[in-house]
Symmetry: C2
Subunit: 460 residues, 2 copies
Amino acid sequence: MKHIDIAKLYKTKEDFIDTKVTVCGWVRTSRDSKNMAFLELNDGTCLKHLQIVLDKSALNQIQDGILDLGAALKIEGILVKSQNGDSIEVNAEKIIILGRCPLDYPLQKKRHGLDYLRTIPHLRLRTNTFNAMLRIRDAVSIAIHEYFSANNYVWVHTPILTGSDCEGAGEVFRVTTHAWDAKFKNEDAYSKSDFFAKQAGLTVSGQLEGEMAAMALGKIYTFGPTFRAEKSNTTRHAAEFWMIEPEIAFAELEDILEVAEELIKYIIGAVLDKCETEIKLFDAHFENGLIDKLRGVLSSDFEVLTYTKAIDLLKKAKGIEFKFPIEWGLDLQTEHERYITEVIFKKPVFVTDYPMGIKSFYMKQNADGKTVAATDLLLPGIGEIIGGSQREDDYDKLLKAIKDRGMNAEDYKEYLELRKFGSCPHGGFGLGLERILLYITGIGNIRDVQLFPRTVGYMA
Amino acid sequence: MKHIDIAKLYKTKEDFIDTKVTVCGWVRTSRDSKNMAFLELNDGTCLKHLQIVLDKSALNQIQDGILDLGAALKIEGILVKSQNGDSIEVNAEKIIILGRCPLDYPLQKKRHGLDYLRTIPHLRLRTNTFNAMLRIRDAVSIAIHEYFSANNYVWVHTPILTGSDCEGAGEVFRVTTHAWDAKFKNEDAYSKSDFFAKQAGLTVSGQLEGEMAAMALGKIYTFGPTFRAEKSNTTRHAAEFWMIEPEIAFAELEDILEVAEELIKYIIGAVLDKCETEIKLFDAHFENGLIDKLRGVLSSDFEVLTYTKAIDLLKKAKGIEFKFPIEWGLDLQTEHERYITEVIFKKPVFVTDYPMGIKSFYMKQNADGKTVAATDLLLPGIGEIIGGSQREDDYDKLLKAIKDRGMNAEDYKEYLELRKFGSCPHGGFGLGLERILLYITGIGNIRDVQLFPRTVGYMA
């Protein structure tokens, strides 16, 4: 590359001061005066702009369009220390317009609302907010790889196209190569003549395949897109989102909790470390106290609390009227989860050992005959961020759980075989990437922590 | 975790010698004699087994099943230096069977063929071959993140669900929530009442969205699953595979070549460095000379050759009869590509500046009016591994290219707008993860470098 990233100029400015540099970028602001003009150039590689100083007498002329908001420029000049403070600026010697930007550019200098920005998904990425969000999304994603790599996990790519419905929730997108009006006698004929010669859908979780990999490689994780055809049009639901699902052989529930706590702290530590500028933007404009909240997570020991104890505590709660009933056997609602983390413990809480009836078929049945070795990690301000469990490793118990739920055991033949050939205690959890991004940035709508969101009725 | 990964024991054995350790794993081989028994334990965390020594007089008894191939065990014992050489072994003091393994275990001690292993996809992962392949797949994937992260690229998650068909190739899986026999008057009514209120399909490339991100963040890359509903049942085609697609603003074709060469060398260097044991397995059993081949790539300067020169050289080729015609304007076939890399240059070759007619609409039109600023990177022994280009950044030229191909310009409105608001030279390339894995491992079938392959008529 013949030009230098602005991020690199800032990081290693001492190497470049008083030398000639070439930079490229888009005009973010400009100011014209009699003898001089100034513009702030941003090339996307960092939030910070670079000030370009145009001495009109030195430059032959200032070409039309150079000072227009959004124009793409290539600039040669001398990098110097800026006069006010210890920043840097470039005294331009040559400016080339790579692409002009007309005045009807939908991103004007004023602060645009997120609602408006959602109507220009391809251009909203150029705002400071989205630059910062995407940079944090990257930092979180890379931190996840770092954590698992350092701990000897193997990243496996579980399939997106799948015939199974892990959660049995029925919210699976169908995938086909048949034409919209293809005619068949029955569903079976339709499926058999389709691309895979069977029904296909988009994965709702890589867990079942992840277990197969963990029972071979010991410690694995998945990190990929996941799909739910949920028709909920809320600020928390997306049809496509990214999930991280570690799965660990020879692990019991307490090991799962340990890994989950370590991972969350590693991610938050990495973001605070690498994205100081970006996090400050969100602290200032989206959630006051964000940085303190994140530091608080780092320094706290996560609480561990059984579901049964949680119900006891909620029943004894004073000075609050819950909308939903509190009774052993019913699922905890967001109001309950928030009360536990925000009022009682004021820190992250693992709730464990939920009633069997409200959890999935694959969870390890506890000796009490009533609960399963499952956990949800609840964070103050957002509620559940991780769901996990030890898996049922007993062939007969798992088979019964499948049959009790009216599921077809034949569909789980290979999954069951993991319990036949060298079964062992194992478990894992799922972390939604978007959910932790909402928590880390203070952004309120899942549509604003994704590049191009897909939600019911909407595909940008 | 209360037990120690076998990989960790090997890596830091000095810390553990003559101390009590707990290890878990599956029995890979066992040998019984009068007073002693021996077994090789593998926990998946590395290729290497750990030898466990059972002194029958010290242990009360050897429980039934402990020596069975595939059984899952938990073992406490003293880690000692092995008697023959400087390896390590464990003198067992306590052995717990976590899960027995019956004698009809489909993975017996003999070497199984890849064809047979494909019939037991959930169990083949437990073989040395698949452990090594998946560990290399992980190392390659992590190396890709390392390379881009170190160079200040942002990993963006381009959508899987999409309405556009980047290559216009028509090999797109349809996605719907309609029932298989849903009745509608016409395609429009079908689409409008579907989940997204429009037609949806699975992405064939993240490039178009990647360009939108690059025109905001400067340097981005995608790394995710990609789909082609190609009905080719070959050893090279899969319906689902992973792609890496960097996209760089302010870059021209020569910059793209530079990044591609650096990336390939970084990946291969990382694998040679981190996966010595695994690569040796493939050199021994899959491709003799594999390690030398990979080292050769590291030490070579990749050749750069225009398509026009390539045609000249092929026309002059002596001592070979090509099956396909060689003529300016026709695409290069595998036999041509292999001749160029294997016979003429004996190293990786970038072919550049292809005829406009055989390349995609979005490629930058060269000044000659006949060629585009595209490149394919060809490697000896495998052919094309990367395809890339500078993108057309002129609004009018791009619009004409879209219309000339009979595509609907309205579908590319946002993509075109990138050329309206601050357009600039930019480009990128696509690297197929599976393709580089075939090259690095010497494995011949794409089905054997994936966890659970999806191909026409087949979904494990």
